[in-house]
């Protein structure tokens, strides 16, 4: 495989030397799956647009920007990695046109050498083997080699040059299901309902899960030696990948999708009320990205640190927006009323209307993403939503009082709105507000952290809410909920039973490790849950 690197890559590789501060514990987690635990299904997962972009960039060594050119990914529970992605005609047609162009560029940079000048048989066979292996992330089967060789032969006999034939070969590779899908099939068996992934599938799964890109040379080499069936080898590779600087982009994507701010740039606010919003959106997103990086690498990769880091990673624009005295990667938030991601402008703006705050959206996020409680939508319980009319005199909080006055609405809104009211000191764009239609902002609320929760927390602000979420029995619930969402993203599935299996593994970790996202994912990698798949029928 090392010679493939020399053949293919003219320069950059995605796998840059790491500079992160992640360190392995040096031991292999031994958490066991409980008997009868639900497994992921044997499946083929179409790579997301971003994963395909990274795969093409890694393969060609070129700058590739196709993710935004393709029809958007389908989301499952808000996450793009999932097994529902498919290949529609519109997607396939666009993808084909994009990779055709890339194939021509990449073919022009492939080293030829004397034996390829006339596209001789030895050249053809060698290129098919090497390029096929790199593209499919595994050695080719005999019939695959023959089929690809036939394609190259056909091109040659049609008068194509070396570059022209290689361009066709690359296009065929890039459009092949073996490139577009990640295989998690293992070997089918007529008798067993459980399949074990082969070494190459494990390498792909590990790499796409942790980096969003294909296996690098070292991981491919380990796969070729069939070492990845050994949990210790998987764990070693997992820590190595987590230490690569490019890996942060994958974890950023998870955090931003979890926070539901990844499409912030596609939002708008009233141009009359928030004229600066469009210009500030990129800075808001950049702040959250930097903050997430800092928390994951240097602050224990925990939901606690995400929610209550106590610092901001801001440049001068956002520092001014927040009214901070200083800016930088760890600017102090003392006295600002902000604590972590829930008080960042990206979150507050994404969970608001165009012209006014939304206590309901903010409260609903806390319920779904921090407490893992799904609040039924009005339509699901037969209620029709009538928006309260605008008012020139009432505060937003007063406008929403109908939610509590109506018993049908109160069953959910008494919880949702109370949580959301604690955020009312931040307006729809995320900046601080002290008055609303002439009324002093009131962020006091009696909050139940869950629809069935007995305890009532008397909270004065969203800072107090955040601290309440991270104290006492709540922290276990919040921490487990965060882990569930992480598993949804990183395993690209949304089945509660399979999540239960993951949570069971997590529960076996030491308390100090349970809240560290990396430790938990490595424990997953070491387990049978990572390498076994349930066969749901052939």
């Amino acid at each position: 495989m090392r010679c493939l690197g020399a053949l293919l890559l003219a320069g950059a590789s995605l796998a840059l030397a790491g500079c992160g501060a992640l360190t392995s514990t040096g031991r292999t987690p031994t958490a066991q799956l409980p008997a009868g635990a639900a497994l992921l299904p044997a499946r083929t997962r179409r790579l997301t647009n971003w994963e395909l972009e990274r795969s093409l960039a890694a393969f060609t060594g070129q700058k590739v920007s196709i993710a935004q050119e393709l029809p958007p990914d389908v989301r499952q529970e808000g996450y793009t990695p999932n097994a529902a992605q498919d290949v529609s005609t519109a997607w396939a047609s666009r993808y084909s046109a994009l990779v055709q162009e890339l194939s021509v560029r990449a073919a022009a940079q492939l080293p030829g050498g004397a034996k390829c000048r006339n596209l001789g048989p030895e050249c053809r066979a060698q290129r098919v083997t090497q390029l096929g292996w790199a593209a499919f992330r595994r050695p080719l089967e005999t019939d695959e080699e023959q089929s690809l060789l036939a394609l190259v032969n056909d091109a040659a006999s049609s008068g194509e040059s070396f570059e022209g034939a290689m361009s066709e070969l690359l296009q065929a590779l890039f459009e092949s299901p073996s490139f577009i899908y990640v295989s998690e099939l293992g070997e089918p068996s007529p008798t067993a309902k459980v399949r074990r992934l082969n070494s190459y599938e494990i390498a792909s799964e590990l790499s796409f899960m942790l980096t969003g890109g294909p296996p690098d040379f070292e991981l491919s080499d380990v796969a070729s030696m069939n070492s990845l069936q050994d949990p210790a080898a998987r764990v070693q590779q997992a820590w190595r990948l987590l230490g690569l600087s490019g890996t942060r982009y994958q974890f950023r994507r998870f955090a931003l999708q979890w926070l539901e701010v990844d499409r912030l740039l596609d939002t708008a606010k009233s141009s009359q009320l928030f004229p600066a919003y469009d210009a500030l959106k990129p800075f808001m997103l950049a702040e959250t990205e930097s903050y997430v990086d800092e928390v994951l690498v240097n602050r224990g990769a925990s939901v606690q640190a995400l929610l209550a880091g106590g610092f901001a990673s801001v440049g001068p624009e956002m520092a001014r927006f927040y009214g901070l005295k200083t800016y930088g990667p760890r600017a102090s938030l003392t006295g600002s009323g902000r604590l972590g991601v829930l008080q960042q402008a990206s979150f507050l703006a994404a969970h608001a209307h165009e012209d006014v705050t939304s206590p309901v959206k903010r409260g609903d996020f806390v319920m779904r993403k921090l407490l893992c409680e799904k609040v039924k939508r009005p339509a699901e319980i037969g209620l029709e939503v009538v928006m309260p009319p605008p008012s020139a005199t009432l505060s937003n909080r007063a406008r929403l009082s109908q939610h509590i006055a109506d018993p049908g609405c109160a069953s959910c809104h008494s919880t949702l709105d109370a949580i959301g009211f604690t955020f009312e000191s931040f307006d729809a764009s995320g900046t601080t507000q002290t008055r609303d239609h002439g009324h002093a902002i009131d962020t006091h609320a009696e909050v139940r952290l869950g629809q069935q929760a007995a305890e009532v927390h008397r909270l004065a602000s969203s800072e107090a809410l955040t601290r309440a979420l991270l104290e006492g029995p709540q922290i276990d619930k919040v921490s487990e909920c965060f882990a569930r969402h992480a598993f949804r993203y990183f395993s690209a599935q949304a089945d509660a039973r399979i999540e239960d299996s993951f949570i069971a593994l997590r529960a076996e970790l030491d308390e100090s490790e349970r809240d560290n996202l990396f430790q938990v994912l490595v424990a997953y990698v070491a387990s049978d849950l990572f390498v076994l798949r349930e066969d749901k029928g052939t």
Binding site: A42, R43, T44, R46, P71, P72, D73, V74, R75, A83, A84, Q85, D86, V87, S88, T89, A90, W91, A92, S93, R94, E144, S147, L151, D154, A155, S158, E168, A172, E175, S176, P177, S178, Y181, S183, L185, P188, L265, D266, A268, S270, S271, H353, E354, D355, K376, R377, P378, A379, E380, E384, V385, V386, M387, P389, P390, D535, K536, G537, T538
Partner: protein, 451 residues
Amino acid sequence: MSGALSRRHFLAALGVSGAFLARETRGLAEAAPAPSAAPRRFIGVYTPHGRAHELWQPRADFDIAYPSSVLAPLDDAARFGHSFREQLLVLDGIDLSAGIEVGTTGHDGSRVILTGSGADGKNASLDQFLAVEQGLGEGTPHTSLVLGVGSDSTEVGMNLSFARGGTPLPKWIDPARTFAELFGSPLGARQEELEHARRAGKSVLDRVRSDLSRLAKRAPSSERTKLEQHATALRDIEKRLTRAPRSCASPAPPPTFERLKAYGGGEPYFDAITDLQIDLMARAMSCDLTRFATLYLADLTRSKLFAELPEDVHQEVAHRYDGRDNVHRGNPESWNKLAIQNRYSYGKLARLLQRLHEAGTFDSTLVHVSSDMGDPARHSSRHVPTLLVAGPDFRLKTGRYLDLRHGKNQQEGVPNNRLLVSIANLFGAPIARFGESKNTGLLAGKLDALG
């Protein structure tokens, strides 16, 4: 394809009993002459934000041209070259019932319009059912066309067309992309260039198809729908590679727009984009590049097209609609504002019909128009404004208003599933039910099943 249904058969499939027939507003003469041999075409159109019912409902003698009528563009020969009133069916009382049942309503309601299923439904939308599953789109280079304006989002409530398995089909929202996909190979291209592209493309496609077959053999049956979707995509691409050269002239390439999306500064361009998409769709139909299409329209928010509308049409107009009912007078000012949005949408429909008429494809085309909500202030997916515009080939008795509302205060309606069943039968698919619901009675073709 089967012959056209009789009027009574069509209405029976809708579940309309004799009592309802009495409540239709009669307009014009009996059905048109014998159908042509042209293949039948289907277009689905989404209009945003429900309707101002008071100004959507036709008046006596099927008058849709009264001064504040939102349907007036469909009877405006001066502006659109032809009145489409005679081919229009206004259906009042269509409910997106399968969605209401599971909470897929309000802004998620478009999910139900052509599928008859809620958010977790796995069946294809009607256009895809006809084009792909019934094979009616097989004979054209593009099995179907899925267009939109302003948003290519895959969210539940932002799409009309869904593949089998339940995933939304991507919409082309850039007219330049639509043009490139439909008319990309210029007629003047050199023959050897076309041959080269065809050979290389076919070679790649054969290899990809072979890989897909290999994968399908190893994959469990749970993966079948996804891989079949991929195979369908490959067949569609192959059709375009191997088809005979196009015989009709392509239109002029459209301009490119620096912004295309809502919330991203695209709104000022939406009007022009909508017109281009409509024109390209109609041209695609007339060139027989496709026979099945959907179009998801955008609203007027931030477009600044009408000074009398506030910037945020969604919050400030649709949510402020105050409709009239048996006990409540409503607010006429709110009707008039929503009516501006409605009339604008139907103006775009009229443009589409005009283009079809000019191209000679109108007679064999059925256009289904609906919205995600009836009363947008209540986020209600009951009584969604539904229109059918059917060319004479379908032999429907059109030029009428059908009031399907019933029950106390006329709050009950007819599930849209019945309408989808009826349309499928018009295209020769003899199905008795369409959509997904735990309440199977809701899906079936007769109103009696509802009880």
